[in-house]
Symmetry: C2
Subunit: 106 residues, 2 copies
């Protein structure tokens, strides 16, 4: 399964979906962070955001791993989280789509 070859066309699709998902997750994280920062009243609220940023940064770093050996898992997770829709992956081989669905746990 993880030795599957990605054709140039598939790589293009993967790249577009991947980049779009990263951009959306970063944008929504920024919006969420700004709302949390604006709501800070006490020092404790502010210091808690240091941990929040660390966790979000690590989570995003780990999740968005653009290696062809990892992409099935990555898209599976994004699908599970509702960050991408299956239609966006149209053009990938049936085998990959099945693997991604399975990885998504749906």
């Amino acid at each position: 399964m993880y030795g599957e070859k990605w054709t140039d066309r598939e790589k293009k699709i993967a790249r577009r979906v991947f980049d779009g998902a990263v951009a959306e997750e970063l944008a929504s994280t920024i919006a969420d962070f700004k709302a949390r920062a604006a709501a800070v009243n006490e020092p404790e609220d502010m210091w808690a955001l240091e941990q929040y940023l660390r966790d979000r940064r690590r989570d995003i770093d780990r999740k968005y791993d653009y290696r062809y050996s990892q992409l099935i898992w990555v898209f599976g997770q994004l699908l599970r989280e509702g960050r991408i829709r299956e239609e966006q992956l149209a053009g990938l081989s049936e085998e990959k789509l099945n693997d991604i669905r399975r990885a998504s746990g749906r």
Copy 2:
């Protein structure tokens, strides 16, 4: 110099000045942090605030050390940074005031 005794009256003065300085520095840090957060446009701006918060937290933790063996240095630093004024320390012994002035490097 660091074995100097603090009378009850001096402790009261020290506590009030110390607590006031902490409260002011925390409030100004919150204001500064909120302005930085509101100005975030790119993910990099946001991630940089993780380090900013870590540095500010450590700096404040280290600076505000309410041990009688440290207070001369603490007040010296606060004086140097313009966070307290010498008049606020009125009531401390002349020896302590001299030591604080000296510690302030003024």
